[in-house]
């Protein structure tokens, strides 16, 4: 169908012409996300009602036009990229509904609500929404649901999928369905809720979600532990978790990230240690005071160099500053950041660090490692310059090896960022031919015309990871 006709037909669905974007400047503004790749759509629409989404899907189905649901475009895996042109469905303006029901302990939200706002509003009623991806103040809940986002608190509280009990979904054929409901227990039929969560916008468009909330912990405490030896830090992580304590967060920074932070904004961290661990405990103040002593004991047993316990919340904030400064610190020398989230079983963290070091040396790249140590979800970050094609080729090879290493160690390609376009070529390596085929069959039965977010998750024949502009 020609573009003019598409714009006309869209005008019949979306009553407010301001929510239909067709200018060149607008189209170029929806051509990217926080990952790699650049694809200009034909039109961008900003629906604010389930009916509007259903009608857009019906139209798209009739004329076989690809549709890409999008939140605020913070995806690190290419989830919302309009790789085959067509319609970008910008759901970020649809943030009107955010209801906290403290009796049922649920939140009912429209897809464009900012994730952090759900937690903030729940806190007013003594509740929390635990998933806390670092982009939670920017990203929409719709995007978090589609990508099954995680975050530091995943160690104790799990990730997005553990909090979704009901959804309203528009199917690729434009039908409206509801999955799950408002009860924690619900075993009626297949669990379509969990199928949709993490399906990266390939099976349906989420138009409303019912999320579980938890009671807010009475207090939190933070500890920083510095280790001369990376292997010791790995042992400390395992030992703490085996001592009957489940911290809310357990983050690790390697020597390269500590050095980068110190070079950027000196916090007085020793730069000769191999690892730094940050632990946050939450719960009843007396319980965590006791647990804090135990954590220190365990760290000493494995030979920690130094332990710092924050006495006040300001001091805790100061300790966490180290972790927050990693991002700005590492892009000082070169601007392009390739952030991976390959995840390994907890016991394999030291082995993974070793493999990452070998990869770094082999390809002569700036590679730093930090991330969620408690659940094995490391973030190897390669710092490069997009304008240097030769370097980017080495990055591509290194990334491939990182994925291989994670899978060989019994881990996974992605802990929390999603597959999107970036990791699609490696899917079969993890899932096997039949495993991948079963997923494809699900996709085909939900979306027979393959119009909803095509080009994601499933590799095309011969598809490889490409980080250069070719």
């Amino acid at each position: 169908m020609d573009r003019e006709r598409l714009i006309d037909l869209m005008g019949e669905i979306i009553p407010d012409e301001k929510r239909i974007l067709t200018d060149q400047a607008d189209l170029y503004s929806y051509s990217y996300d926080a990952s790699f790749g650049f694809f200009v759509p034909d039109i961008v629409v900003q629906p604010k009602a389930t009916e509007e989404v259903a009608k857009v899907m019906k139209l798209a189905n009739q004329f076989e036009i690809p549709v890409y649901p999008r939140g605020q475009g913070t995806s690190l895996s290419g989830g919302p990229l309009p790789v085959k042109g067509g319609i970008v469905l910008d759901l970020s303006r649809w943030d009107q509904n955010l209801e906290i029901d403290s009796e049922d302990m649920v939140a009912i939200v429209s897809p464009g609500v900012i994730t952090g706002n759900i937690n903030a509003k729940a806190m007013e009623k003594g509740l929390i929404y635990p998933p806390d991806p670092s982009s939670s103040n920017i990203a929409t809940i719709g995007g978090n649901l589609a990508e099954n986002a995680g975050g530091p608190r995943g160690l104790k509280y799990g990730v997005t999928k553990d909090y979704v009990i009901g959804l309203e979904v528009v199917t690729p054929e434009g039908e409206i369905i509801r999955t799950g409901g408002r009860t924690v227990k619900n075993v009626t039929g297949y669990d379509l809720t969990k199928l949709i969560v993490g399906s990266e916008g390939t099976l349906g468009v989420i138009t409303e979600a019912i999320l579980r909330l938890y009671p807010k912990p009475a207090s939190t405490q933070t500890l920083m532990a510095l280790f001369d030896d990376l292997v010791d830090s790995g042992r400390a992580i395992s030992k703490v978790l085996n001592s009957g304590i489940l911290p809310a967060k357990m983050e690790i920074m390697d020597q390269a990230s500590i050095q980068a932070v110190e070079a950027y904004r000196p916090l007085g961290l020793p730069t000769d240690v191999e690892a730094l661990i940050l632990i946050e405990l939450d719960g009843h103040p007396m319980a965590i005071a006791d647990e804090m002593l135990k954590v220190q004991e365990v760290c000493k047993e494995v030979g920690v160099r130094e332990v710092k316990v924050a006495a006040t919340s300001e001091e805790a904030e100061k300790l966490w500053r180290a972790r927050k400064l990693v991002s700005p610190a590492i892009v000082r020398v070169k601007p392009t950041k390739i952030s991976e989230d390959a995840t390994v079983p907890r016991s394999k963290i030291p082995a993974m660090f070793q493999r990452l070091k070998e990869i770094k040396d082999k390809y002569n790249l700036d590679l730093v490692v930090f991330g969620h140590a408690g659940d094995g979800n490391l973030h190897p970050n390669i710092i490069a310059d997009k304008r240097n094609q030769e370097e980017m080729k080495r990055v591509e090879m290194a990334v491939e090896e990182i994925f291989t290493a994670a899978i060989e160690l019994g881990g996974t390609l992605s802990g929390e960022h999603g597959i999107g376009t970036m990791k699609a070529p490696f899917m079969e390596m993890e899932l096997g031919e039949v495993g991948l085929d079963m997923m494809k069959r699900i996709k085909q039965s939900w979306d027979p015309k393959n119009i909803l977010n095509p080009g994601k998750i499933f590799p095309e024949i011969g598809q490889r990871l490409v980080l250069t502009d070719e």
Binding site: D26, Y30, S135, K386
Partner: protein
């Protein structure tokens, strides 16, 4: 001037993480990526690569407030200000080539002659003062003559400050009495608009500094800071003004150069960026920039002779250029809170721009009013009796906001300096 003058290399510093989105007022009110910092950086890159034309870049860049809240939010230190200014300069050059001669002459007259000229501005100030004092203003309001003006000009007429008039404007520029042992020697930067429309604030600022033990001088050689010219892409004029100011203040041995204008202050502390690629000026600019501080920075460290309690609920609308460019967030707030008797209440999302942004509210009136209405929604939540600002643009805009809400009777808008002076019983 061509596309090659866009700050193209700087756009690569943006990793497109989107952390700037919630900080951007125009993204919030206009509701699309095109009007976000990440969007604008990408469009500058696209224009530099020739993928979109300059005319497609124009709207998104013109509608940027330049509040630079995105720089504060950015986790990777992208120099948005530099990218924006490069785009403004390129667009201005492009427009100049297309502009009717008449408009060209007016712009050049306004930026080159009017703003930097004390005489012309004083005369304009005199006109304004006459308009207000003569009863003409009242008559005009009654007759509804203003209805014939476009809405934007008419709106501002209501909220114009009472101008001191030319005589007081002149008498204000006095040499301060020498203190026994002055704490600091201060050169006072008057600012051109401030000195005309808000000359009483300058006068109070000087008296407060003196009361706090400083020796203050107002030197004649100073000129316009160049901020408005710079925001309009007139880099050449800005640089000339910067050099004049640097030269002027270099002749004296001041500890600090102090101003009471968030916007000018932001320009002055960035002279070093502006002149970074001119070897004979770079170091001098750096020294000058280092000496420049907002009045709140000095006063918050010096004892003030407070006399009266001000028993009011007060809130503070920080100026973006104070927060995001000068990076002075604590000083004005601590100073405000130190006034005896006041109850301070914080506006939710106080760091969001009010929509004033230099001449943005005149040029992009409707967009600015959308931003202002959002701001007033937040202001209403704390029910202030007084709104404190530190910049004339914000001052006028907040007054307009109060007027739009029909709250002029109940809510006062003042400069921080005015409130301090009141509590210290200092008068013009």
């Amino acid at each position: 001037m061509s596309k090659t003058n866009l700050a193209y290399q700087e756009t690569f510093d943006c990793v497109q993480c989107g952390y700037c989105l919630p900080a951007c007022p125009t993204y919030k009110t206009m509701g699309k990526e095109t009007h976000s910092p990440r969007g604008r950086i990408n469009l500058v890159k696209m224009a530099a690569e020739g993928k979109i034309s300059l005319s497609e870049l124009e709207g998104p860049i013109d509608l940027c407030l330049g509040c630079r809240a995105c720089e504060t939010a950015c986790p990777t230190n992208v120099q948005y200000g530099k990218i924006l200014e490069s785009a403004k300069e390129v667009l201005q050059e492009d427009r100049r080539n297309r502009m009717p001669k008449r408009v060209k002459m007016f712009q050049s007259f306004f930026f080159n002659r009017v703003l930097p000229s004390d005489t012309v501005l004083t005369m304009a100030g005199a006109g304004l003062s006459f308009y207000q004092k003569s009863g003409l203003q009242k008559a005009t309001r009654k007759l509804g003559i203003l209805k014939q003006f476009p809405e934007n000009i008419a709106s501002f007429e209501k909220i114009l400050p009472e101008v001191a008039g030319p005589i007081r404007t002149k008498s204000r520029v006095q040499r301060a009495p020498v203190q026994e042992v002055p704490t600091y020697s201060v050169g006072f930067f008057t600012g051109c608009i401030m000195n005309t429309m808000f000359s009483s604030i300058n006068a109070l600022s000087i008296k407060l500094l003196e009361a706090a033990g400083c020796e203050v001088k107002v030197i004649k050689e100073q000129t316009c800071c160049g901020a408005l010219q710079n925001h309009s892409g007139e880099t050449k004029i800005t640089k000339e003004l910067a050099k004049k100011n640097i030269e002027a203040f270099e002749k004296y041995q001041f500890d600090f150069v102090v101003n009471s204008i968030g916007g000018c202050g932001a320009m002055l502390v960035e002279y070093d960026h502006l002149l970074a690629d001119e070897p004979e000026w770079a170091e001098r600019a750096k020294n000058f920039a280092r000496k420049n501080v907002d009045i709140s920075v000095l006063l918050s460290n010096l004892p003030l002779p407070f006399k009266n309690e001000i028993r009011k609920t007060v809130t503070y609308q920080p100026s973006c250029h104070m927060t995001n460019v000068q990076k002075r967030t604590n000083e004005p707030l601590e100073l405000l809170k130190s006034i005896p008797g006041i109850t301070y209440k914080e506006i939710p999302e106080k760091d969001m721009c009010c929509g004033s942004a230099g001449i943005y509210n005149i040029v992009n009136y409707h967009e600015s009013m959308d931003i202002l209405d959002d701001k007033m929604e937040q202001v209403k939540k704390v029910k202030p009796e007084i709104i404190v600002t530190t910049n004339p643009g914000c001052h006028l805009q907040m007054k307009l906001g109060v007027e739009r809400e029909g709250q002029s009777e109940n809510v006062q808008v003042v400069h921080l300096v005015e409130l301090l002076a009141k509590s210290c019983e200092i008068n013009v």
